[in-house]
């Protein structure tokens, strides 16, 4: 016979304890993000003391423009990381995107708009292919996207072997246009934040996060993993194409090898901002903070007039701090539970 003992633990009706615990776990869960915010504040403060006029719209416009390509690439990367995957192919897509823009843009605004939309759709389609390969052939995302990165890079080099091509002036003017002192880049940043606030609360956003958190549970709850893979990698490809288009407004050329500079920084920006490589945890706001940290480090290296090779060194140290922070937070959370 199974005996029923009265329980000493009371799972209900201790709301005060729940609230205190909620607050402490809230802090622990967001520790990596909060630490990233702290690091960004410190970096901006240092930058501000080293240089005049850092706290101005002008500087904000400049830094946002400098960070925007990475931000767009990292947005797609964030979505894939939340799903528990990784997308290396964005490097190839960015190269290919700039090359296509440089060679296929015609002269008239209508032609340009058509070509830009086609490039964006191509990015989405290539991402969908990644998702398809990963789902149907059950291959590792790392390897699949490494392969597509290589294919896309080679294709870009075939179309345009060296930097070059011609972009219409109005296209480049668009990237640097401003309204009441606020540049189009800052406008894009605002759009990006709005997109994220919307996206993370949609059913698709939640399903992507859930699949990254625990694929089996999501599947048992009726999520189609194929659909999630197609859309997550599709969006990543789309954002890579947008990053390429934005990049051409800044550089004015097509660059068949430029994309590789964005692969690992896009992952680094997300991780610094508190996104777990194991999926399910973190958000785009953290990625934005991470991308600005990486950008400001570049500015600091320039202002301090030290070798530019310090930039990756400092970025690496910051990445280590971020990874350490999230690991410590997880450990302390576990301890407080047991």
């Amino acid at each position: 016979m199974t005996m029923t003992l009265p329980s000493a633990a009371k799972p209900v009706a201790k709301r005060d304890g729940d609230h205190a615990r909620d607050r402490s776990t809230w802090l622990i869960d967001r520790a990596p993000f909060l630490i990233a915010c702290g690091m960004l504040a410190v970096l901006i403060a240092i930058y501000g003391t080293l240089r005049e006029g850092v706290f101005s719209f002008e500087e904000l416009n400049l830094d946002t423009a400098a960070a925007m390509t990475l931000l767009l690439a990292a947005t797609g990367q964030t979505i894939v990381l939340l799903r528990g995957g990784i997308d290396l192919s964005i490097g190839g897509m960015i190269s290919l995107g700039t090359v296509l823009a440089a060679t296929q843009f015609g002269g008239s605004p209508l032609q340009v708009a058509f070509a830009a939309v086609m490039i964006a759709l191509l990015g989405f389609a290539i991402g969908v292919c990644n998702g398809l390969l990963i789902s149907v052939l059950r291959l590792q995302p790392f390897l699949v996207t490494l392969a597509t990165w290589s294919i896309l890079s080679g294709t870009a080099l075939m179309i345009l072997p060296t930097d070059g091509g011609q972009l219409p002036d109005f296209w480049m003017a668009f990237g640097n246009a401003s309204l009441l002192g606020v540049s189009s880049s800052v406008g894009l940043l605002v759009l990006l934040v709005l997109f994220w606030v919307w996206f993370r609360s949609t059913r698709l956003g939640i399903e992507i996060r859930a699949t990254g958190s625990n694929q089996r549970s999501a599947e048992l709850s009726g999520v189609s993993i194929l659909r999630i893979n197609l859309l997550a990698y599709g969006l990543s490809g789309l954002f890579a194409a947008l990053a390429a288009l934005y990049l051409t407004t800044q550089t004015g050329t097509g660059s068949p090898t430029i994309g590789k500079d964005y692969i690992l920084p896009s992952v680094a920006a997300a991780v610094i901002g508190g996104i777990s490589l194991f999926g399910g945890r973190g958000g785009m706001i953290g990625t934005i903070v991470g991308a600005f940290i990486l950008t400001i480090i570049g500015n600091l290296v320039f202002v301090l007039q030290v070798s530019s090779y310090w930039q990756p060194v400092v970025s690496g140290v910051i990445l280590l701090v971020a990874v350490l922070a999230s690991s410590l937070a997880e450990k302390s959370a576990r301890r407080s539970l047991s």
Binding site: M1, E207, L220
Partner: protein, 500 residues
């Protein structure tokens, strides 16, 4: 006409037959128990009902209509909700987000209306008096029992006409078990069908009107619960008269102390435990839920920080991490509480799981000796009678009882002779339980020292040589011989509470 009619359902996975001729009939307004040993096909059958697995043959009818769900969604739409042992909750979502996952209330722009979602969750908890955690808590921060309750809430939120509970009480403390038993009866009284899978006969007798028994993938019998005795049910499950569940208790303890605790404390949950575990002894640990049993095991295995002195085979040691506890012949090995997340790597093979902790035992000059590894693995598969197709079968595809045996094998291969068994029979069928108890006595006879906790008190009463009863994190009594009875243990565990 019955609500569910399944006739001759069959299912094969490759060469393995999970179900051959499963028949099942159950009516609206009843609690219908489904019983069988682990591996008898119960899980496969309910996965078919829930639309997760498609049968190879047979016919299914739901309320007179042919029923062939293409996926889990179709089953939900037909009004069937299942609560699986393998939980479907997403760790990084909150309780409310999990309950309404994919059915969230949406705004015009397609975003989730959080406040409404939370209110709906609270209303759901209120309606069924669900002892669930706050809707805003993240599931990965919940205990196993809390997750189980959220899982049940999620099923109830669909307002199903058929609700399937698979071993739902095995993770629940007594109070919550009582709640669930009451809930099942209430749901049946409302005209719903509750399909109740459990190994606890007492629960089944308490709430189920009928019981269907599976054996080796086929239906053996359906009985009216009131008209059948336990012996018949167990005989139907096992296909033979059962050997005694509990092996004879032959005293094998020696004077040598295997594990000596002095003043062991963990935070404020465990205080000043003095205990001597002898070579060849099985010592039970009992107490009300949450009175320090878990902390004791965690401290000994190095998961929780503890104070006090621990001596292993006469040598004082400091246990700070599981590695310290797991040192070869003189070490301590643990069978953990949650075998799915702590004890096994479900996606690795049986062989890898067995040998993971003991790689040095079959290395020669730093090289892996495959033949030695194979010999060790075969030996464990044989002695524990693990039912795996090959040693390379994925551990996650084994039945619960066989998974638990793999954990035992893994523990035995470490050659540690002090074993900590924390609820080793949770969710395991009677046949395997008996095997595990016999194994425990055999090991004790070989000089192993075993510390044993079970959520099923009669197991402790019938298997342990001595029983340490904990109360409020302190040692209340050590019982031995004829003093060991459920009545006496309960008294020792509660006496202070009664005085207060």
């Amino acid at each position: 006409m019955e609500l569910i009619e399944a006739v001759g359902i069959s299912k094969r996975y490759g060469g393995i037959v999970a179900l051959s001729r499963a028949d099942f009939r159950a009516d609206a307004g009843e609690v219908h128990a489904l019983l069988g040993e682990n591996g008898a096909g119960k899980s496969t059958f309910i996965q078919i009902l829930a639309g997760i697995v498609r049968p190879n043959g047979g016919t299914l009818h739901l309320a007179g209509q042919a029923y062939q769900p293409a996926n889990a969604r179709a089953a939900e739409a037909a009004g069937i909700a299942a609560v699986f042992q393998e939980l479907s909750l997403v760790p990084d979502l909150t309780v409310a987000e999990n309950v309404w996952f994919r059915r969230e209330p949406l705004s015009l722009i397609g975003t989730v209306r959080k406040r409404r979602e939370r209110d709906a969750t609270l209303a759901l908890f209120e309606r069924y008096r669900i002892p669930a955690p706050a809707p805003t808590r993240e599931v990965r921060r919940l205990t196993l029992a809390e997750r189980q309750i959220v899982e049940i809430a999620k099923a109830l939120s669909r307002d199903p006409s058929v609700i399937i509970l698979d071993e739902a009480t095995s993770a629940l403390p007594p109070r919550e078990t009582d709640w669930l038993l009451q809930l099942s009866q209430d749901l049946a009284a409302e005209g719903k069908l509750v399909i109740y899978i459990s190994h606890r006969l007492a629960e089944i007798r308490q709430i189920a009107q009928r019981v269907t028994i599976f054996r080796n993938g086929a239906t053996v019998a359906t009985h009216d619960t009131a008209a059948v005795d336990d012996e018949t049910i167990i005989a139907d499950m096992l296909g033979r008269r059962m050997d005694r569940l509990y092996p004879p208790r032959i005293a094998t303890a020696t004077d040598r102390t295997a594990l000596k605790l002095r003043g062991l404390s963990v935070g404020d949950r465990l205080a000043d435990i003095d205990l001597d575990l002898k070579e060849g002894e099985v010592m039970g640990v009992a107490g009300l839920q949450g009175h320090g049993q878990r902390e004791l095991f965690q401290a000994l295995f190095g998961v929780s920080r503890s104070r006090g002195a621990v001596e292993v085979w006469g040598k004082p040691i400091a246990i700070r991490s599981p590695r310290d506890a797991l040192v070869g012949r003189d070490g301590i090995a643990l069978v953990p509480e949650d075998r799915r997340s702590h004890g096994l790597l479900l996606s690795k093979s049986v062989r890898e799981n067995l040998t993971l902790s003991v790689v040095p035992r079959f290395t020669r000059f730093g090289f892996l000796s495959r033949s030695r590894e194979r010999a060790l693995v075969d030996e464990q598969l044989r002695t524990l009678q693990i039912k795996a197709g090959t040693p390379d079968q994925m551990a996650g595809t084994l039945s619960g009882g066989n998974q638990q045996k793999v954990i035992f094998g893994k523990m035995l291969l470490t050659q540690s002779r002090i074993l900590l068994l924390y609820d080793p029979t949770r969710g395991i069928d009677v046949g395997t339980k008996g095997e595990i108890f016999r194994l425990m006595r055999d090991l004790a006879a070989k000089g192993y020292a075993i510390l044993f906790y079970s959520s099923d008190l009669p197991e402790i009463v019938n298997v342990a040589d001595r029983v340490a009863v904990l109360r409020n994190g302190k040692l209340a009594a050590i019982l031995s011989g004829d003093d060991i009875s459920e009545h006496r243990i309960l008294r020792e565990a509660m006496v202070e509470a009664r005085a207060a």
